[in-house]
Symmetry: D2
Subunit: 187 residues, 4 copies
């Protein structure tokens, strides 16, 4: 686009892609491996998150169902109770949203494993977790106008979890074709 | 409340109770029995509805999960695909909401049974259903100001389905205490 | 139905209608009047509830929107922030659900008015409320098998709130026809 | 990570970042500019999508509310009716989801503008749209195991819409601090 004023939208998208690449380049393979082990050996997988983090968590839950795992989003109509042997994924940037901490504490009390995706390693949510997937951005002066509020965390969370989807596919021996068959009715 | 001007709210609530008693007094025991048989012998139970009818349907789905049935609300995050041997409950007053008809048609095509709660026996939804639970009110001049739009249908739908909950409890041998154990995390 | 064994479903529905009539017969006109005043003079109306109580609250929110009020369900995608001059309706049987108490406390702190529908006059939620609509059932031996868990509270909550809808209609001078025009797209 | 077997998760995440960069590098500045104009001059902004595309659309709706626009997600509790002068954003990969097409047609009929994010320029949804934001990936042999089903579309949709958020911020003169003040209660 030489000579043309580039739109804020494309500048922001490029900024997002660069910042996400940086956040996601950190080596999390050990924690990711543990998370995959927890999800695939759990009786049921529960997912929780509030706001845009909750949307990234829901996107992950949809794939788990398509992979044949029994997976629920806490707070929706039909969530059964969390029990021993279950796994709970919680996404929260601050790690201090009260309901997220409560879900983690209840889950641990009944003997379920907790995997958290959070921006804060030292948060109450992190302390209550068996596995922590930390997504911490370096703040820079451009962030606030190109990726306001928790945008980087939320978008990185989606991509990190989509990476975990690919690894769960391998682990449970499922192909895209298998997943398509389990795709929900879309009307 | 002799001598006092009664509030529209209490007049409306009394009107609702009277009108609901009339709508619900009709003998639906045969259709209800067939619906209970379909729900309790299904592999999975799916529930669908739009707007306030959808809320009544969701309230039913929550009880099904607490009764130990595998039950999903179509359109929520984690709905798996409907298959042969499943049951689908659809609530729609007009029976002509396009997505409701589509869900019914897809369900029938794959070999699932469809139970509909509807205000219209001759609707497209009714035609696509294995069992029809019809809730038809006599219109009267007071209805529009004391129970506007689909209020009577929606409220009757909730009470009818709560009656079915009690019958499913008996059929699957579950008590309130059993249901409480399966109550979802409320945070 | 002389001589025939009546189905549990119809026995339960009749039990519900009787128990609801009793719960709702109590005179709440003063509290209802205050609630209507709060809703109709608020800048925005917010609604909150978890589980089946939350569904009854949502059903009320839909009608408020159809009546032309600006109304939001807390926790859904697009809820704006609660501010001074707003009203918050919270439905919780126990009045001790942590998020319900938190919503009430945050609302009061910013100067919004809180109306609660609850089964417990002495609960933390009730203490945090400006107006309490109490729905307390007498427990009886049949309740647990005909109306398990919070069924009576939740169904009474829906009917009470539908009564309030009729009163708000009068107050804001809206007819069923006006409401129909504001009915959301149903696809 | 020399000498170490890299996890499928990190391979998938890197693949996603590369593929997203490619999809998003296409010049869409004209269509984006028109979309921003439509959103910021609309009376109300409505958002719709099913499944994971719907989650990306919801994430956008949350930001619009934080930017002070009146924005609703169609299908949630409190959606008002779409009218002349409103804008509707619809996200659908295939552009053939029936409810998405219906929403577009209803919106056009009442005189609202439709912006679609879709993977198919020739779809029925695209035909019903005023502005088309097309996100078309080149299929390659690795995609199905590293980014199954609509993953690339859905993730690109989120990033594209987050870019649009940054441009709307500029247009309506809002900062991150302004948006934080409008952040919904998170409990």
């Amino acid at each position: 686009m030489t000579g043309a004023k580039r739109s804020t939208a494309s500048v922001s998208t490029e900024y997002l892609l660069r910042a996400l690449a940086e956040i996601l380049s950190e080596d999390r393979s050990k924690a990711v491996g543990e998370a995959v082990e927890i999800f695939t050996s759990a009786k049921k997988v529960f997912v929780y998150g509030v706001g845009r983090s909750g949307l990234a968590a829901r996107a992950f839950a949809m794939r788990m169902v398509q992979l044949g795992l029994e997976c629920y989003f806490i707070g929706e109509t039909i969530t059964p109770v969390v029990s021993e042997g279950d796994a709970v994924l919680i996404a929260s940037n601050t790690g201090s949203t009260m309901s997220a901490i409560q879900v983690a504490n209840i889950a641990r009390r009944v003997g379920a494993k907790v995997v958290s995706v959070t921006g804060s390693k030292t948060s109450k949510l992190a302390h209550a977790s068996n596995v922590i997937l930390c997504l911490q951005e370096d703040d820079d002066p451009e962030r606030s106008r190109l990726a306001p509020l928790g945008t980087l965390f939320e978008d990185a969370c989606l991509l990190l979890l989509d990476g975990i989807v690919a690894q769960v596919m391998v682990r449970v021996g499922q192909t895209e074709a298998d997943m398509r068959v389990r795709h929900a009715i879309m009307v």
